[in-house]
Amino acid sequence: MPFADLVVGTLLYGALLGVIYGIATAGLSLIFGVLKIVNVGHGAFMMIGAYTTYWFFTLYGLNPVLSLPFSLAIGALLGLAFYYPVVRRVIDAPEMASLLATFAMGLLLQEAARMAWTSDYRGFSWEVARLEIGGVSIYASKLIAAGLALLLLLFHYVVFYRTKLGLAIRAVVQDREGALVVGINVDRIYALSFSIGIAITVASGSLLAIYNPVGINPYMGAILTLKAFVIAVMGGLGSIGGAFIAGVLFGLFENVSYVVLTGIEGVQPLVLTRFIAFTLLLVILLVRPKGLFGR
């Protein structure tokens, strides 16, 4: 295979996966930006999204793209269901209280999913075309997933910058006391932000399932949480655009470094790309301690 094809393939797949990473991190970033809570259970919410798409497809034959509104709705409801009894009470507590709370939330979802759906590794076959791009073969579903991710990001952007709600959220982020004074119901803003953040997270789980419709299981969340953390920090916590760009960078970097590493004798290049990606994180933080786009 010519070297050029190798590069085209890795770039294409890297960028598409990066877009998915980006949207998968946006919800985490939003919740941190507004509530200052690191959601340790992040991946478990994505897992719920992946199952949503899987079940709607397997049981009702619903086009995976159309499961997205359901994921958003389920996510929004889950967000509210966790906000009022739990999250609300730990916002002002020390950071560790919120870590413990979100950890327990994730554990609850994971175990509930296992009880309801067993720990089988599931997947589905959504028959779509396979395309040839620059000599590289790829499923159209991956492009669709990435396109939807961009759409979701746009939606997110519109809510944030073009609506009254977005204005109020930004006001709370900037100056909570000030927002209270001008009559913003801060508690409600928190509730809505958490709910939107979880909705986007669950939806990103659906997109991941469209992108890679295999390996869906209750424990898939752990690695997703880890990657989202790294990408969120790389981009600058609370910066949604930053999360997105960092996601794409991370995806690209992982794949591109393979091409370089494969020339080295005696190492496992794809395993080492992980090492390289995490080193990149440290280097970025050394140069910019608040991430690429953090303030």
Binding site: M1, L17, G123, S125, V136, N212, G215, Y258, Q268, V271
Partner: protein, 432 residues
């Protein structure tokens, strides 16, 4: 108001905590049913019902319980003129090595089990082995395919599974016998202890058989895109692609081979294709994909056809299926569950123990361990025989399974096969 409710919750929580800690020290395990005065042999099994090994763990537990039920309904095991019933006690180890240590000890010292069946996976069995060995309790290692456990000098650990180094040999034997023109082998595996042992074993064996290993690389755990490594693999233009690791990556590997349109005459993937969910996940793409298995539902091992030097022991395959289904439905609320090779392996562990007990004529551990050395049986799981020095399984053979139109069939070895192989694998583009 709020402070009162908070105080109340706090008090309740404190009480629960104190009660829980006290209870840990006072509670006794809920064991099996107490029989009316009959003699019992109790087997202990720390097993993963949650965590990453829960699928295989539950399978092997149900398999072991099924065989125990069969034995008890046959009237138990005759040991030196006395008849014993089997009983099994188990705990969930959460796929967590630290948990295995304390649960194994609990089974031995508190529940006073007479013998142990290992947890699923080599990693967890490694943690249970020193506890079993210290207490001089014989442990039948099922679900642990590592060769290395048996190089540590443990006297009380014996193996059921064909060790990892021989996992992919059946695929290579099959190709060697079927197609003299297939020469180039690509090996791609997940970077962990088990898959690496398998891959190394396969590479050695392939070279022995005169194949040319043109690609040999690994990918990390929890991988979400295999494009770069698969593109490089494709460039080596292999005739045969073998490897894999576990469920998630195995499904991804098959999916991406199809996506990138990488064709080979034979694709053989570890672990993942052996479970029915593989077909659900991949649909028709799964057809033609082969996998090494310790056992498969259609195998033709039967009492009528026992290899030289071996004797038949235990239930027939149909009997095993019957008991497996009844245990799965009545005790685990699983309707329509089909046994995987993990289930059969769990059952085979019980059979090895039962036969060794009969041969020893006593329940004394050392005598049973010694009898184990002379054990040479054919069961529904296949042949079983251990290396007396190390406890390594040397009798059992792997089979090669293949997905054909949504069903699993066996294509190798010829004495176990129940279908004609699909070979060479048709190109992905013909599968839609």
């Amino acid at each position: 108001m709020k402070s009162i409710s908070t105080t109340l919750v706090a008090v309740v929580v404190l009480v629960v905590i104190v009660a829980a800690i006290a209870a840990v020290f006072l509670m006794r395990a809920p064991g099996g049913q107490e029989g009316a005065g009959e003699e019992k042999i109790v087997i202990g099994m720390p097993i993963s019902l949650t965590g990453k090994y829960s699928v295989e763990g539950e399978m092997s537990l149900i398999g072991a319980l099924a065989v125990i039920e069969w034995i008890n309904e046959q009237g138990g095991v005759k040991v030196g003129g006395k008849t014993y019933m089997f009983d099994l006690k188990y705990y969930d180890d959460e796929s967590n090595p630290d948990r295995v240590i304390s649960l194994t000890e609990r089974l031995i010292t508190q529940d006073k089990v007479d013998f142990l069946i290992s947890p699923y996976s080599s990693g967890l069995t490694f943690k249970a082995a020193p506890i079993a060995d210290k207490n001089g309790v014989l442990m039948i290692a099922q679900g642990a395919a590592s060769d290395k456990i048996f190089q540590q000098g443990y006297q009380y650990v014996v193996q059921v599974y064909t060790p990892g180094s021989r996992y992919l040999t059946s695929a290579l034997d099959f190709v060697k016998a079927t197609d003299p023109n297939a020469k180039k082998v690509a090996i791609i595996y997940k970077e962990n202890e088990f898959s690496r042992t398998v891959a190394e074993g396969a590479r050695k064996y392939a070279e022995q058989l005169g194949f040319q290993v043109v690609f040999y690389k690994s990918y990390p755990a929890d991988v979400s895109d295999l494009t770069p490594i698969l593109q490089e693999l494709a460039a080596s233009q292999p005739d045969i692609i073998i490897g894999g690791g576990h469920f998630q990556d195995g499904q991804l590997l098959a999916k991406q081979l199809a996506e990138l349109n990488i064709n080979a005459k034979l694709v053989s993937i570890l672990v993942a294709p052996a479970l029915p969910k593989f077909y659900e996940a991949l649909g028709s793409l799964a057809d033609g994909i082969t996998y090494p298995a310790q056992w498969e539902m259609g195998v033709k091992y039967s009492p009528d056809k026992v290899p030289e030097g071996y004797e038949w022991y235990g239930p027939t395959i149909d009997e095993f299926l019957k008991y497996f289904t009844s245990v799965a439905e009545s005790r685990f609320q699983k309707q329509g569950l089909k046994p995987s090779y993990h289930a059969a392996g769990g059952g085979a562990a019980v059979l090895m123990l039962a036969k060794a007990l009969e041969m020893a004529g006593t329940t004394d551990t050392d005598a049973v361990r010694k009898a184990m050395n002379n054990l040479q049986i054919q069961t529904f799981f296949g042949k079983l025989k251990i290396d007396p020095e190390t406890g390594l399984q040397i009798g059992h053979d792997m089979i090669l399974g293949q997905w054909q139109s949504g069903s699993k069939v066996i294509i190798w070895p010829p004495e176990a096969a129940n279908a004609e192989p699909i070979y060479p694998l048709p190109p992905w583009s013909e599968k839609g």
